[in-house]
Symmetry: C2
Subunit: 361 residues, 2 copies
């Protein structure tokens, strides 16, 4: 993709004492090379940038990855891998331990042994993910476009809830997906959640045939994907009237979210950020009902670095984009989650999501 | 899911000398437990069937996985994993080497060392995938429903090509996707390919803004997903008139496909099946232009066991469902692929896809 990314990658490889790095995870591959195919390995060294892929993808790779030499793989891994290593004289091959299966690691180890290659395998964690966590202007623009689309889709969903009384969770989810696709998204960032009544107590509910009713919580969690980049959005709403319990829970979640938005600063850990919201929910007596983390990085993947959660040691930095999404879930009754996509700029939170946060409508 | 599957799994675990098996891959997990969430680990032993998942999924897991004891994971892996191992006295833990990352393997190894557990990690390959490759009646029914939907969608696409001259690849792909969703599919089995003209030379083309024209090849590759199960379908067509070269290539690919359909028998290897079609394409002088395998198993994943390809040692057996999809691709000119979803029954191929195979329409 950009020369910057390759340069940054090369600096990190050198720091880690590797002479070449293997990238196989799809989004990491795309980030560094621009290649959008679903199969291929990058080999990045100080002098080489090679994209090894098979027959199905070589033409596409030539079109998408100008900074990379395209190497068409044929036959078994042992033959082309050995050839590449010998040709370039690689000795210390870094790889992402999260992205390589134990089977592939074993296979590479056996190839090295059988071919008597003088090559060391060096596991590392999250080098490319770390690069990816700081967004450049182009990435911020794409994510912001996706966020705008979630705002517009929410607006459309509110209208549909009035226009089509008795609409089911599934129907509304499909209307949102269609809206995304007809307005410039290539798809959804994840399976859209529309949940009503007690279904809102499931943080990852799947839309079903339940008809949405006035007086019960309706939770909509959705994200669009534009040029590979995700957005993430949740609102919980209630038509006409809400019982006292729902209003009370809603207020607590909203307080927790707003406190996090106001107080998260660059330099904090993910755990410190999480506790800003969690402490409010705990003080209100609902600590056990908020069982997930406060947020997650958003980019080419819907869940990426940084993590905002109880145990996260990730440092939050300017240029990161992530979700802030506290929730309270009460089995059998229902739940509330409020989520914005935000960025860190000049030390503080900028909220990209614009939709209002009213429970009743 | 079914008691049968757990029983078969337990027999395999015992054969392999393991006393418990860890399942983490999403489709394997769903196949054995019915759980459709995106995060969780199964532990299957002769006496236990445990689904370990976090707060977000425990309620869903209770609803979906009646045969499994639901274990809510809290805190770090080392604490809950150690607790499970000690409680049940496990000594030989099998895992799927393709599904566990090197990082998780390292993490488990370290936990075992630090907690001084008397537990051996036993890598194995494809135990659950092997079970999954033979479909039961319920699975055949779901896949067949998906195949019917691809036939209906193709019919619809042919009508749209006439009704909307100048329709783009992207627009047609979206019409097909909408058709799937409005007719009972939960989504597509993979990103739909609609390619026209020279774009058909890319086996995995992405639909773009090219308007479809009479006289050029149009390739449509699509699959629906119903209750998790995939279907797979490709036709290459041409409106009004086709040049001689396209007609010639089409005839070769069709011959190759029909020969495979007639001659593939239970008991063959994937490589033998592949060569039935490949030899015809090679004899016609296009061997280099058919760079992918003849087919792949279809089920909860769009690409699963068995593999029909040059190097595949998989044995084809009754009850398997897979694709037969030879192709010829000529860079800069275009390509042809014809694909049916088929099953093996009583030793021979039954073609599930019903659509005609005419180039011109």
């Amino acid at each position: 993709m950009s020369t910057d990314r390759l340069q940054q990658m090369r600096a990190l490889i050198s720091e880690e004492g590797m002479d070449v790095f293997l990238v196989s995870q799809q989004e990491n591959r795309r980030y560094l090379s621009g290649f959008t195919g679903s199969s291929g390995w990058l080999f990045v060294s100080q002098r080489q940038a090679i994209l090894a892929t098979d027959f199905r993808y070589t033409e596409q790779a030539e079109q998408e990855s100008h900074q990379f030499e395209i190497f068409q793989t044929t036959g078994v891994l042992s033959s082309w891998f050995t050839k590449l290593v010998i040709t370039h004289g690689w000795r210390r091959l870094g790889f992402d331990a999260d992205a390589i299966s134990f089977a592939v690691y074993q296979q590479l180890s056996n190839i090295i042994k059988d071919a008597q290659l003088d090559l060391e395998l060096i596991p590392s964690k999250g080098i490319v993910k770390k690069l990816r966590s700081i967004k450049d202007q182009g990435e911020i623009k794409l994510i912001s476009k996706g966020v705008e689309l979630t705002d517009a889709a929410f607006n459309r969903a509110l209208k549909l809830l009035r226009l089509r009384p008795g609409i089911t969770e599934k129907e509304l989810a499909w209307e949102i997906e269609s809206f995304f696709r007809q307005n410039g998204a290539e798809g959804t960032a994840f399976d859209i959640i529309v949940a009503a009544g007690p279904n809102t107590a499931l943080p990852h509910a799947r839309p079903g045939d339940r008809q949405v009713q006035p007086g019960e919580p309706i939770l909509i969690d959705m994200g669009a994907r534009i040029d590979g980049y995700c957005s993430d959005f949740t609102r919980t709403i209630c038509m006409d009237k809400a019982d006292e319990k729902l209003q009370q829970i809603y207020t607590i979640v909203l307080d927790a979210q707003q406190s996090a938005i106001r107080n998260i600063k660059s330099g904090m850990t993910g755990a410190e950020a999480d506790s800003l919201a969690r402490s409010i929910i705990e003080q209100a007596g609902y600590g056990d009902a908020f069982g997930h983390g406060l947020g997650h990085g958003i980019g080419l993947e819907i869940h990426e670095s940084p993590s905002l959660s109880r145990l996260s040691t990730d440092i939050l930095r300017d240029g990161m984009i992530f979700s802030i999404e506290p929730g309270i879930y009460i089995p059998g009754y229902g739940g509330v989650r409020i989520e914005d996509t935000v960025s860190l700029e000049e030390g503080t939170i900028k909220v990209l999501t614009k939709s209002a946060k009213h429970l009743l409508f």
